[in-house]
């Protein structure tokens, strides 16, 4: 069981710009993968497309998750198959209590696994303690007025509560101080299991000091250009993306190139 992406081409609907230009990726069950890459290279587009965001359109290729083709499935259908996207910019929804929302999401993603209110609260409390989240966040409105770090913790809290099969974490480390980074990393490590896999999108190798990936992929200009073990991340951190590009002999302009 795994996620298989074959020759995925994706464009942004709004301006017809092709962002993914033939992505191939394979994430077997039980593994944690990281995707690194310079800005504007399609990393977020990839996970948004996997989740089913309607801002993007698949023009070619296919996404197979545990044997099911995802290409034409709605966002909620994918979530119910076990996909989870920890968002880079989680939205704030006023009037909806965090705990009510998470309970509804658990019921939606695990329809056959009924939790009593007490069981739910116990698990919720356990996860909040684990992530060092103040308990009054249960009663606060979904992400409303949360700081950047609080929002990220809340994404990890949802992941721990929903127990997805595949968690995609889009720059979950951005805006986190070192303590929060450790807490978030603990949450991810805690999820490690035979039937769980993760895809961590990041710019820096910082989070990968705490969460050791099984595979590191590098994306440039809409493709996965190379893959390797955890040391690929530290190598990149030392040498930079431009050097790797030149070593690979790629003719790609990086967004931040002057």
């Amino acid at each position: 069981m795994s996620l298989v992406i074959n020759n995925l081409h994706v464009k942004i609907k709004e301006n017809n710009r092709e962002v993914l230009k033939g992505v191939n990726l394979n994430i077997p069950d039980g593994e944690i993968h990281a995707i690194m890459g310079p800005n504007g290279t399609g990393k977020s587009t990839l996970v948004q497309t996997l989740m089913g965001s309607n801002k993007y359109q698949i023009t070619d290729g296919e996404i197979i998750f545990n044997g099911t083709k995802l290409n034409n499935l709605a966002v909620d259908e994918r979530a119910r198959l076990g996909l989870f996207l920890g968002m880079q910019y989680p939205t704030e929804i006023t009037g909806v209590k965090n705990s009510d929302f998470i309970k509804a999401a658990m019921e939606a993603t695990h329809p056959n696994h009924h939790l009593t209110v007490l069981q739910f609260l116990q698990r919720f409390e356990h996860c909040m303690n684990f992530l060092d989240i103040d308990h009054h966040y249960a009663d606060r409105y979904l992400n409303e007025g949360f700081s950047g770090g609080e929002k990220k913790r809340n994404e990890i809290l949802q992941m721990m509560m929903l127990k997805p099969r595949l968690a995609m974490l889009d720059e979950i480390d951005s805006g986190l101080d070192i303590d929060a980074l450790k807490v978030v990393s603990n949450g991810i490590n805690h999820m490690r299991a035979k039937d769980f896999s993760a895809l961590i999108i990041t710019h820096y190798d910082r989070i990968l000091h705490y969460v050791t990936p099984d595979v590191v992929h590098v994306m440039m200009d809409g493709r996965v250009v190379t893959s390797g073990g955890p040391d690929l991340a530290s190598k990149l951190e030392k040498e930079g993306y431009a050097k790797l590009r030149d070593q690979l002999g790629l003719k790609i302009k990086l967004v931040d190139d002057e």
């Binding site: 089913g52 965001s53 966002v75 119910r80 968002m87 939205t91 009037g95 309970k103 939606a108």
Partner: protein, 461 residues
């Protein structure tokens, strides 16, 4: 939050009709004789008949409202202006006819009813059939009964306050109500008494073409407080029916009154109500008003802030689906210094429904250092629906502040995406966003009402 799909698919759940034969009816249409008959049937004092007759003549010459929704399809000659179901007001629940109990069961009233059995009063048809004054309310000296009974038992109190805030000539429908009123709730809270539990009443129209003209009169004496809650649901009919209620609330010095209403009229009901409150010095009046159904609703509850430091607030939601026109708002009149008012109006329109906010805030020259704040929030769910905000803000002195905010939005794609990425269907996600939008309203409701509101919104989605 759980969504029961079966429930959503059901047709208007409350659209049923009990088989009850009125014991007495004046038949369709209105003339002076009908007014006399109503008064005679109730054995009213002469002065009430005089009020009715005077109002009837005002009604005859008053024009229909010249603003807002089109009322030309309302056929006032087809309305039954009075009918009686049971010939006495039941004292105990056991005496309430089974068919009526069944009705309350169908609309899910029993939970609330059982809980507040002793203190609740339910209006059925044009009159209260069930009144049971909780004994501790009685001990506190609180009078809580239907207005017809109050007229018999406390004629002096009724005479002192009836029509003093909402005169017959206020508009055509207040004139009509004054001429043919029946039922409604009467509450008197003596000085310094705090009603510890909310007083509740359920209203409902039954029998096609029955006009419902209840007359509610609430007097909260100095330093006293009360929380009054009423809920309405009505069955669906092919012919139009009219609900033209008048509510008068007197909040004396240092007193507090909260008046909560949830209405879910079926989609052939014209709900044309006039609600007015007066708050004396340091008093506070709160309207909480939810309008979920009807064909046309015109309702602009008001507070006259008559004494220094008086405050008034309105917290409302309106939901308009196809064929529904909600023209609602609030009126705050500042007649004294240091008064404050706050209006929060939330509305949702869908499938071609219309939601308007029509309000007025007036700060008079003598109301220095007063504050008024109005916030109108609307969610338009599709391109067929419409909304308008029609405020009239008048400030007649330089030491007061007035703020008006209006926002119209659609359900955010980002919000939907986020919720759906956690497995909620589009319908569930939409409902969750809507429930969040009206949360400031629903969190003010007693538990049973919040649950009922949740179900009603579910049905509307």
């Amino acid at each position: 939050m759980k969504t029961d799909l079966n429930q959503i698919d059901q047709k208007y759940q409350y659209g049923f009709k009990d088989k009850i034969k009125p014991v007495y009816t004046t038949g369709a249409g209105l003339n002076e004789n009908v007014v006399r008959k109503i008064s005679a049937e109730k054995h009213e004092p002469q002065w009430m008949l005089a009020i009715r007759l005077r109002a009837f003549h005002i009604y005859q010459r008053m024009p229909m409202p010249n603003f807002g929704p089109d009322l030309s399809h309302l056929n006032l000659n087809k309305i039954h202006y009075f009918q009686r179901d049971s010939d006495h007001v039941s004292r105990s629940w056991d005496d309430v006819p089974d068919t009526i109990k069944n009705t309350f069961q169908k609309i899910g009233v029993p939970q609330a009813e059982r809980k507040y059995l002793a203190g609740a009063e339910a209006q059925y048809e044009s009159e209260a059939v069930y009144t049971n004054l909780k004994s501790d309310l009685k001990k506190m000296g609180i009078i809580f009964m239907d207005t017809d009974s109050a007229l018999k038992k406390h004629p002096d109190l009724v005479k002192q306050y009836f029509g003093k805030l909402v005169g017959a000539a206020t508009n055509k429908f207040t004139a009509l109500n004054t001429a043919v009123w029946s039922g409604g709730t009467f509450i008197y809270v003596p000085k310094g008494v705090h009603a510890t539990v909310p007083l509740q009443s359920f209203f409902r129209i039954n029998a096609g073409n029955t006009g419902q003209f209840e007359r509610t009169l609430i007097i909260v004496d100095e330093g006293a407080s009360i929380n009054y809650v009423e809920g309405c649901t009505a069955p669906t009919y092919s012919e139009d029916s009219l609900h033209a209620a008048v509510v008068e609330v007197f909040v004396k010095k240092d007193a507090f009154c909260r008046y909560t209403t949830i209405q879910n009229w079926s989609h052939n009901v014209y709900s044309l109500e006039t609600k007015r409150a007066v708050a004396d010095a340091h008093a506070r009046m709160e309207w909480i008003d939810g309008n979920l159904g009807s064909k046309i609703t015109m309702k602009y509850p008001s507070v006259d802030l008559n004494g220094p430091y008086a405050s008034g607030s309105m917290l409302s939601i309106a939901f308009a689906k196809h064929g529904v026109y909600q023209d609602t708002g609030a009126i705050m009149r500042h007649h004294a210094p240091y008064t404050s008012s706050n209006v929060i109006s939330k509305s949702i329109c869908k499938d071609g429904g219309v939601c308007n906010y029509r309000g007025k805030e007036k700060i008079e020259p003598n109301s220095k250092h007063s504050k008024s704040h109005v916030e109108c929030d609307t969610i338009i769910m599709d391109d067929q629906s419409t909304t308008d905000t029609i405020p009239a803000n008048i400030v007649r002195n330089g030491d007061s502040t007035m703020e008006h905010e209006a926002r119209v939005s659609k359900i955010s794609e980002n919000d939907l995406y986020y919720l759906m990425s956690r497995g909620l269907s589009e319908k569930q996600a939409t409902k969750m966003i809507i429930m969040g939008f009206i949360e400031p309203f629903s969190k003010q409701l007693p538990m049973e009402y919040a649950v009922e509101l949740n179900k009603l919104i579910d049905l509307q989605m």
